[in-house]
């Protein structure tokens, strides 16, 4: 099942792939995203937001994916006059059974933080999620330079 | 306390002294607003009266025989202030001091104390007389007034001036000069109608505004005003009456700002039929710790996000502690605007800043409640002036606690 917020960017340019398997990989995900965001000319707030969203999604992979394994693919994006950064977080984990529910529920206050998907979605310009039980999860986010 | 020499015959002296004692005691017992006490040479309290109990909460039996140090704060005792005060009185005969003192329950009051060195008939030191007044209220008022004056002086983008009862200008501020082009000496003592257009002056618009302000407690109007160079500007003016403690009208406070640009923009917007105003709304610093963000026009997500960013950046740069979000320029408050406001307030809180909403009109208040918008702990005020006063109190509260000893040191020159 797919929930898509907006259309994908028209052109895809330089790409960096980060394998996610350990805590230290989160650092690489963040610094990679930061570098692309800077290159795309994103302001400080937009950068902080997209890097934070990326950190959340990468951490979800560590926590919930099978063997804590997954991949983050970060790329430059361009659409007409806009430039931006796009990141795809993919894993072959158990998948999300009730995607609607996951996209509605915020951070629970009782200690466990869940997936924090609605929060991450609010941080970025574009958000698309593909997930089904047994098929893993794939989240695509995009942040533009206005 | 001046000692009057009393010359008596030896055999009458005892009786006379008894009379004098009786009259003095009665006199002191009847003093209710001051604490008058006698200390011995070591600063131990030797007599008491109702006024002293009223001020400090101690009853006679629990205070007589205790050292005067019980009224001093721990820091003052540790720094030897008690000895300093007594010594100064002994040396100079009279010593005045001001500072924080403690009541029995530990609460503080701002005291004005006068020590007098006493001598017996033989001229030997006979302890000290001490008269103490509670000036907490007066001090607060003085500080507030001083603070407000400083505040007004530093406002460069708003005109904040005082008028007397008849509408003559009796104070000026940098914002007023910037707005109208006049320097203080050119306007003080003149009638405020000098800024009005001839048409308005003739129509008695000003008299009507002053009368309305007196009747309604405050008025907000908009209209054309004239600068020194003859150019017109569209002013948004808030006029509030000032009253003394008896409720008598003593004058007015006038806060005005230039909305020429906004008015022009609104005209263009109406022409274009486009709702979104792309103004770069400046964050105004009115004091070194208070920022005002005037929100003007409609707020879409993009603009709201930019405003929040600039506000937070200014908070960091100016180390602001209070932010006033002025919504008097927002025509319609809806859930979207409220949401942006609340998010901005929350983000500012994460940076340690308190927020105040100002410019809340009656229809705004109604909309907010009808829409079910929860402002939580966000304080709101109708006028910018009230918001500024609250901001000042918040700043003082932040600075004041735990600084009692420090304040005392400043006053005791």
């Amino acid at each position: 099942m797919t929930i898509t917020a907006d259309n994908p960017p028209a052109e895809l340019l330089a790409v960096t792939t980060v394998t996610i398997g350990a805590e230290s990989d989160l650092l690489r995900v963040r610094s990679t995203m930061r570098a692309y965001a800077r290159q795309a000319g994103l302001g400080l707030t937009a950068t902080t937001k997209v890097v934070t969203a990326g950190s959340e999604l990468a951490r979800n992979i560590l926590r919930y994916a099978t063997g804590g394994q997954g991949v983050a693919t970060v790329q430059e994006a361009a659409s007409g006059q806009k430039t931006g950064v796009q990141a795809v977080f993919a894993d072959r984990g158990p998948g999300i059974a009730d995607l609607e529910q996951a996209m509605r529920s915020g951070f629970s206050t009782a200690g466990g933080l869940g997936l924090g998907l609605p929060g991450s979605r609010r941080l970025v310009d574009e958000f698309a999620i593909d997930s089904a039980p047994g098929l893993g999860t794939r989240v695509t986010i995009c942040q533009w330079n206005r | 306390m001046a000692d009057e020499s009393v010359v008596v015959r030896a055999d009458e002296s005892a009786a006379v002294l008894e009379d004098i004692n009786f009259y003095y005691t009665q006199m002191i017992d009847n003093i209710a607003d001051y604490a008058v006490m006698r200390l011995d040479n070591d600063g131990v309290i030797r007599n008491w009266h109702a006024g002293a109990q009223q001020l400090t909460q101690y009853a006679a039996q629990e205070i007589i025989g205790r050292p005067v140090a019980v009224f001093y704060t721990a820091e003052d005792v540790a720094s030897g202030l008690v000895e300093t005060d007594l010594h100064a009185a002994a040396k100079g005969g009279r010593h005045a001091a001001a500072g924080w003192r403690l009541r029995k329950d530990g609460t503080r009051f701002w005291a004005s104390a006068v020590f007098t060195a006493l001598h017996d008939l033989a001229g030997d030191a006979w302890g000290y007389g001490m008269v103490v007044r509670d000036l907490t209220h007066a001090r607060e008022q003085e500080l507030t007034l001083h603070g407000l004056e400083q505040l007004v002086d530093s406002i460069a983008d708003y005109q904040v001036i005082r008028l007397d009862r008849d509408g003559r200008v009796c104070s000026w501020n940098p914002g007023a000069q910037k707005l109208t082009g006049y320097a203080a000496e050119e306007v003080l003592g003149h009638h405020v109608s000098m800024f009005y257009t001839d048409d308005d002056a003739r129509a008695g618009v000003l008299q009507q505004e002053l009368a309305d302000a007196v009747r309604d407690g405050s008025t907000e109007t908009e209209g054309w005003r004239i600068r020194k160079d003859g150019r017109r500007f569209w002013a948004n003016v808030i006029l509030s009456p000032i009253r003394d403690e008896q409720g008598e009208l003593t004058g007015f406070v006038k806060v005005a700002r230039d909305l020429t640009e906004r008015r022009e923009q609104e005209r263009l917007v109406k022409q274009q039929g486009d709702e979104i105003l792309e103004l770069s709304t400046p964050v105004i610093q009115v004091w070194d710790k208070v920022l005002i963000l005037p929100l003007i026009g409609t707020l879409d997500s993009g603009r709201a996000a930019r405003l929040t960013e600039s506000l937070l950046a200014r908070i960091a740069a100016d180390q602001a502690e209070v932010v006033i979000l002025d919504i008097s320029g927002v025509p319609q408050i809806d859930s979207g605007v409220a949401q942006h406001l609340l998010e901005t307030v929350e983000a500012a809180r994460l940076m340690g800043t308190d927020s105040i909403l100002s410019g809340v009109r009656p229809d705004t208040a109604q909309s907010i409640v009808h829409l079910g918008i929860e402002l939580g702990g966000l304080r709101s005020r109708t006028s910018l002036k009230d918001a500024l006063q609250l901001a000042l109190r918040l700043i003082e509260a932040r600075a004041g606690s735990g600084n009692g000893a420090g304040d005392g040191a400043d006053v005791r020159a």
Binding site: - | A347, L350, R398
Partner: protein, 123 residues
């Protein structure tokens, strides 16, 4: 690091589970050992605070309070503040201040208020 009666804890760069555990141990034992009355947690060096870090902060504050001290988070950057609010984690029960100076003043105020309450209880 001690500042008067307050402790200053500065968080750097990237926190993972292991560093968090050692930070928690260090902070709690320092608070107990020095009997610090207040602790400032300085996050001005963090340009990203995600939900994990926010949780770490909230937990640190709780631990410090359980030890009888007060805690304040200082130095949240503007971009981080905006992000936290949009993420939906604004930690309403956590005391915050712009920098260490304002943080210490805040802790002093909280102690003064706390003392007044204690005093009232005794009188």
């Amino acid at each position: 690091m001690r500042m008067g009666q307050d402790l200053l804890v500065t968080l750097h760069g990237d926190l993972d589970d292991r560093t968090v555990e050692s930070i928690e141990q260090n902070v709690t034992s320092e608070v107990a050992r020095t009997r610090a009355r207040g602790t400032l947690i300085d996050v001005s060096g963090l340009d990203v605070v995600d939900s994990f870090v926010a949780q770490v902060l909230a937990r640190l504050v709780r631990m410090i309070r359980l030890l009888g001290a007060e805690a304040a988070i200082v130095g949240i950057r503007p971009a981080v503040a905006i992000t936290l609010v949009e993420l939906g984690i604004s930690m309403p029960d956590v005391t915050t201040a712009l920098n260490a100076e304002q943080g210490m003043a805040r802790l002093r105020r909280m102690r003064a208020d706390g003392m007044r309450i204690d005093h009232d209880n005794h009188c």
